[in-house]
Symmetry: C2
Amino acid sequence: MYLCLLFNCLTMEKRPLILLSNDDGYMAPGIQILIEVLRPFGDLLVVAPHSGRSGMSGAITVKVPLNLILVTEEEGLKIYRSNGTPVDCVKLALNQLCKDRKPDIVFSGINHGTNSSVAIHYSGTLGAVMEACMNGIPAVGFSLDDHTLKADFEPSKPFIAKIAAQVLKNGLPDGHCLNVNIPAIPILKGIRLCRQAKGRWVEEFDVRQHPNGGNYYWLTGHFQNHEPLAQDTDMFAMEQGYISVVPSQIDMTAYPLLEQMKSWNL
Amino acid sequence: MYLCLLFNCLTMEKRPLILLSNDDGYMAPGIQILIEVLRPFGDLLVVAPHSGRSGMSGAITVKVPLNLILVTEEEGLKIYRSNGTPVDCVKLALNQLCKDRKPDIVFSGINHGTNSSVAIHYSGTLGAVMEACMNGIPAVGFSLDDHTLKADFEPSKPFIAKIAAQVLKNGLPDGHCLNVNIPAIPILKGIRLCRQAKGRWVEEFDVRQHPNGGNYYWLTGHFQNHEPLAQDTDMFAMEQGYISVVPSQIDMTAYPLLEQMKSWNL
């Protein structure tokens, strides 16, 4: 199936322009895999942080100026790095490098570490995706549930190609994007459409004493899934060996609560 | 009405514990106003960035350790500052300062500048709110549509008290929070429940030449409202002189798209 879609891309009059970013930096293995998998689909423009910017969420840089440096350029592939956040990178790409031609699609990742459940709110990878989404561009964030540099991205490759081909074919409605999370296992069972699991991070600080007195705090902790048995969630799918795809949206309005609050007489 | 609710708070057996944060720093006029307005409602714990951290969204600090420094302590009011982001401040407060007693409510702001529409995704003020929300605590972000230090918060005071009293009385459902935006005008017409307006930031960089060659980029631009005539949006309400209250949620799953995508055969 995705080979047919790939064939469509290859034979299109104009190859799609695909913007890539991430939050682990332009040299991270994850984005190199994304370049490798997506290169047949279109012309790639990579604009990514010059080094790791994990946990940057949708942060933008307002107090210092940004740079934007061409790292490499070859047929069908340009790579830029920036001192900005993932969101800054997408903004720089759209405003400075894509004035004449808007990207057809934006992919972010592959993140080293999961961004399932509420991690979507902390993730720089997903920050880049949201930024594309706000600019009316279909966007997908990919994350692998392995923080280490030796993470094995091989099993995910055909699935990433399949998802990419489908999004290139079908597009996504305005203001919508996909949050894709991949278990770090050698044999993936397939892809599941899911909702975001409820949960939170707990026990989050490692407290140490400064040699000159006073404490300092390292952010740490573990994730607590509040609904481990809910089969329609991203975390459940991943635990079962599936790649989770959570269709997500920019509009955070809680419509049912909006109705309920009409009785508050504000 | 809110005076009655305030009376309830004053006569409660145990005064509510109210956690305050912001993204403009603990010394910003906006948070001082919040302290002034909310002090009669309960015991206040302020944990806020030591200086401005605008545009920090839901960012967390993972590469450097955090500090947490007591600035002042008096009856019913403790103020701490930290080098962390707004989200870090809430995490530090909940994990280090509130181990024995969880805050009953979290307020963030008053932000110097609006956080209506998609600004909810960039805002550090709302990042703090989301963090509280993820931890099961009712939370409200307040923002005034004036970036300057001489912003006039006076007209907003009775409305902030009213909203605070109502949230203390009614609570909020788990995973939900309020994004409150206040027009910078001398006479406010009232409060409106709204949805998040669709829009985006455009023309976002001021490009300058570095003395040693190459360009650098200042993030700038203006907001484009994509639905200026939609009367149920936060931006419309504000333009009409009303305070907008957008009930918002942690769950970003796009349920209708999830259904549609079942035909994709992923």
